[in-house]
């Protein structure tokens, strides 16, 4: 069945224009058009949509109100805003409720690319309920360490942007969220932002303050069986991020590549964090399988029907994170398996190597353990097969020095 896309706008000219412009997609998508929020809900009632693209400012029900409804009634739908809106207050309303905010005018290529890539990523996650875990996530739980670090900073009268940026950059949940915001059309007027720190700085005092007012920015992970594991996963992600950035630097990467490598490393377990949060009971099953000899990755596949990375990549995709990072997340496990992994380049190489090395560090034979994790063909293709030992040594020296 073709995916159903519903476009909503109070201006009929816009709807007709979209219908004509996207005529080329009629073979792939079933498109429908609604003049306003009420009509949209009526249409959804008879046939739910996979994607809802709505204008923001409309008489009667606004785009934000419509998406609030959609989120409750059809949690599996992807929710996009296409607006020329310039009012910051109104835009804040959409932060929790929409996955991405696109600027009018948006050309067809961009709109098509975003919807296509999101539907593709969704396809890797089996089952409507599991897909809804991803679309139903508007924020992820923050580790206790992250909360302890940020709470006093966020209470200060003049927010210490630099320190807050660093704290955000060390916490996968916040890094992903702030990247989503900074790259959304309203805030991200310039080039795509590639580091959480730059994203925090771009949002600045005023927006952060408004966010603090409107949103619970630091949701705690609920008490329970997975809490400790969640905490450890965040700490582990931090190590992978640092090492990935270091390796990218060692390989002569530019500032942007280093930032993307760090982000890919930090978010490598984004799906796992999401699963711990959204389905703690199922995740407890995963943790119960590990002592019996299964690897975490395999146990996750068995319980959830796909890799945690598929969840992570889907979330990263619909939140509009840099495509390099989305691609890296998907292929972090076996980068050589897919040719298109080349697109992710150095950030993928660095994050993949960092993940392997950090996983091996506590083993009896760290290098052997790392090698078992790493994709030899992929490393060989980048001429890095023999560098793993050096990286491990260099990193450990650095750690001891620090």
């Amino acid at each position: 069945m073709k995916p159903r896309i519903l476009f909503v706008d109070d201006n009929n000219n816009i709807l007709m224009g979209l219908r004509r412009m996207l005529r080329g997609m009629r073979g792939d998508w079933a498109m429908d058009f609604a003049e306003g929020g009420e009509m949209a809900l009526a249409k959804l009632d008879s046939a739910p949509a996979d994607v809802v693209v709505t204008d923001m400012k409309m008489p009667g029900m606004s785009g934000a109100e419509l998406l609030d409804e959609v989120a409750v009634r059809y949690p599996r739908s992807l929710r996009l805003i296409l607006s020329g809106e310039a009012d910051p207050e109104a835009t804040f309303r959409t932060i929790a409720t929409s996955h991405q905010f696109l600027q009018k005018p948006s050309n067809s290529e961009r709109l098509i690319a975003i919807i296509k890539a999101s539907l593709e990523r969704r396809g890797a996650v089996p089952g409507a309920e599991r897909q809804a875990w991803v679309t139903g996530t508007s924020r992820l739980a923050v580790s206790r360490a992250g909360r302890d670090r940020l709470t006093p900073l966020l209470r200060q009268e003049s927010l210490p942007i630099e320190e807050i940026g660093e704290a955000f950059a060390a916490e996968p949940a916040l890094a992903a969220k702030v990247m989503q915001l900074a790259n959304s059309a309203y805030f991200g007027v310039g080039d795509p932002v590639s580091s959480p720190k730059a994203a925090v700085s771009l949002l600045g005092q005023d927006v952060l303050r408004a966010l603090l007012r409107e949103e619970n920015l630091l949701p705690a992970f609920p008490e329970g069986f997975c809490q400790g594991y969640h905490e450890r996963t965040v700490a582990f992600s931090r190590d992978v991020a640092d090492l990935a950035a270091w390796i990218a630097g060692q390989q002569g990467g530019g500032a942007q590549e280093i930032a993307l490598a760090r982000l890919a490393g930090l978010l490598h377990a984004l799906g796992r964090l999401l699963l711990c949060d959204q389905a703690p009971e199922d995740y407890a099953k995963v943790l119960a399988m590990v002592p019996a000899g299964a690897t975490v990755d395999d146990a996750e596949r068995e319980v959830f029907g796909c890799a945690q990375a598929d969840f992570g990549a889907y979330l990263a995709q619909i939140w509009g994170l840099p495509q390099t990072v989305v691609d890296a997340l998907r292929h972090l496990d076996r980068p050589s398996a897919l040719e298109e992994a080349e697109r992710a380049g150095l950030p993928l190489l660095a994050a993949h190597s960092a993940l392997g090395i950090v996983s091996g560090l506590n083993a009896a034979d760290p290098l052997g353990a790392a090698a078992a994790q790493l994709d030899g063909d992929f490393l060989a293709r980048h001429g890095c097969k023999n560098k793993v030992g050096d990286w491990m040594d260099g990193w450990q020296q650095r750690e001891t020095a620090a």
Binding site: I14, G17, R20, R23, G84, A86, E162, V189, Q205, A255
Partner: protein
């Protein structure tokens, strides 16, 4: 003479002497009292005179007693401090020598007028004038004057107040007010601009969508036409449907089909080009106006310059070619985005005006000048160099270009605030620097340096 007579005389003399002694005693007591009084009065007068001098010296104004020949007879301590002269230097010199040459006449006139109206109390009337210190420096002062007569000669008391501090404070306040109103203007302009951008973006979306549609569907129609054309040719070759084929051909002729085939796609292409341009300009206006950015953020300076050039295109396009030479590795710079855009805009507009002025001086209207903008790193700072091939700035003017309200532009062209605001913003708010090199008739280069963030500076140092 008998003893009796002598006795009586002695007695009289004794009495007279006693009387004389008593008188002497009384008189000398009177004298003593008088002298006591005199010395007390003298002390009092001395004390009063000291008090008076102290009052004079501690008055917050320079006070002079000047005789009819304009000679200074007396002055106070503040007078010495104000004019940087000793009492000896001051006494006997012509009072008007204490004025700057150009304000002497006005002071003399003030003196003459107040003499004419002696019956009026003129001390509450004050004029502003310019004083001159011994070192040659001048300063603004406020003057008031009183005429008085003593022992048949008339004197003038001059009270001169150094008001440079007050003037400076006032200038600072005026400047602050200007900055504030400038900021408010920018903010409301920003809000307005983003509102307009929104209004324009909606129709741009569907004009663009429809044009894309026309482009795709015309291509589809052409393939249908091609298939039908083949059919017509085949029928013609087979000698079928002669009448209908003639009709189709006449119809094609009438519609100028070949022309349409050529021109429709290119007309749509140009429409799309135009729409893309509009959308680029609207985005630039939105970015330029940057409403609500009242704090520092990391700014891609290269992009900010591109944006500003787009917004200000109308200011330079008929006067100059703009060439950019960007250092692509320049890290983002922490700054106030709205102000940096404004500063760059001022610089670009100035460059264009300088070129215009040179063109009209040399009668070469229409010959395009050149504005070059370079970016780079220099000693832990981001550097922006804006060069023009305009009229240049003379050495005398170069000292004043950053002063508020200094302008060499014609009425309606400049308010003399652009560079002064730029200077304030770059040096005070950003901790950077702004400097100028110029050669009259050849051109001018402004160099702006902005400190890079700590992290970027560290990266540079490695």
């Amino acid at each position: 003479m008998d003893a009796d007579v002598l006795q009586k005389r002695l007695a009289r003399e004794k009495i007279a002497r006693r009387q004389a002694e008593t008188l002497l005693e009384t008189k000398s007591r009177d004298l003593f009292l008088a002298s006591e009084q005199i010395s007390q009065s003298a002390q009092m007068i001395k004390a009063q005179s000291q008090q008076l001098q102290a009052v004079l010296d501690h008055a917050m104004a320079a006070i002079f007693l000047v005789d009819q020949e304009d000679k200074i007879v007396r002055s106070n301590r503040v007078a010495e401090l104000t004019f940087e002269m000793s009492k000896d230097d001051m006494l006997g010199i012509n009072f008007f020598d204490l004025f700057s040459p150009e304000s002497q006449d006005a002071a003399r006139h003030f003196d003459a007028v107040s003499e004419l109206h002696q019956e009026m109390n003129t001390s509450d009337k004050a004029i502003e004038s310019i004083g001159r210190r011994k070192s040659g420096g001048t300063f603004p002062m406020e003057l008031s004057i009183t005429q008085l007569d003593m022992d048949g000669s008339s004197f003038t008391v001059w009270i001169c107040r150094d008001v440079s501090m007050r003037k400076e404070a006032e200038e600072r306040r005026v400047k602050l007010e200007q900055e504030l109103s400038q900021a408010q203007k920018l903010e409301s302009l920003g809000t307005l601009a983003s509102g307009i951008a929104h209004e324009i973006n909606t129709p741009v979306q569907y004009v663009s969508d429809n044009s894309h549609f026309l482009k795709d569907s015309f291509a589809d129609l052409l393939s249908v036409l091609a298939a039908q054309g083949a059919l017509v040719e085949a029928a013609e070759a087979a000698g079928l449907l002669g009448e209908e084929i003639a009709k189709v051909k006449a119809c094609q002729e009438e519609a100028d089909l070949d022309f349409l085939r050529e021109e429709v796609p290119s007309s749509i292409e140009q429409t799309l080009d135009g729409v893309a341009r509009i959308s680029k300009i609207v985005t630039a206006i939105k970015e330029f106006a940057h409403p609500g950015a009242s704090e520092k953020a990391l700014v891609d300076v290269n992009k900010a310059i591109e944006t500003t050039l787009t917004v200000a295109r109308n200011e330079w396009k008929y006067l100059a070619e703009v060439q950019t030479d960007f250092d692509e590795s320049l890290p983002q710079v922490p700054c106030l985005p709205g102000e940096i855009n404004q500063v760059i805009l001022n610089m670009v507009v100035n460059a264009a005006h300088a070129i215009e002025s040179k063109q009209s001086q040399e009668g070469q209207e229409g010959v395009l000048g050149k504005i070059t903008i370079r970016t780079g790193k220099a000693g832990g700072m981001a550097e922006i160099r804006i060069s023009d091939t305009g009229c240049g700035i003379s050495e005398g003017d170069r000292k004043q270009i950053f002063d508020p309200f200094f302008t060499t532009k014609g009425v309606g062209k400049g308010t003399g605030q652009g560079l002064s605001i730029a200077y304030g913003s770059i040096t005070q708010k950003h901790g950077g620097s702004i400097s100028v090199e110029s050669q009259v008739g050849v051109g001018t280069t402004f160099t702006i340096r902005l400190p890079l963030g700590e992290e970027a500076a560290l990266k540079e140092a490695v």
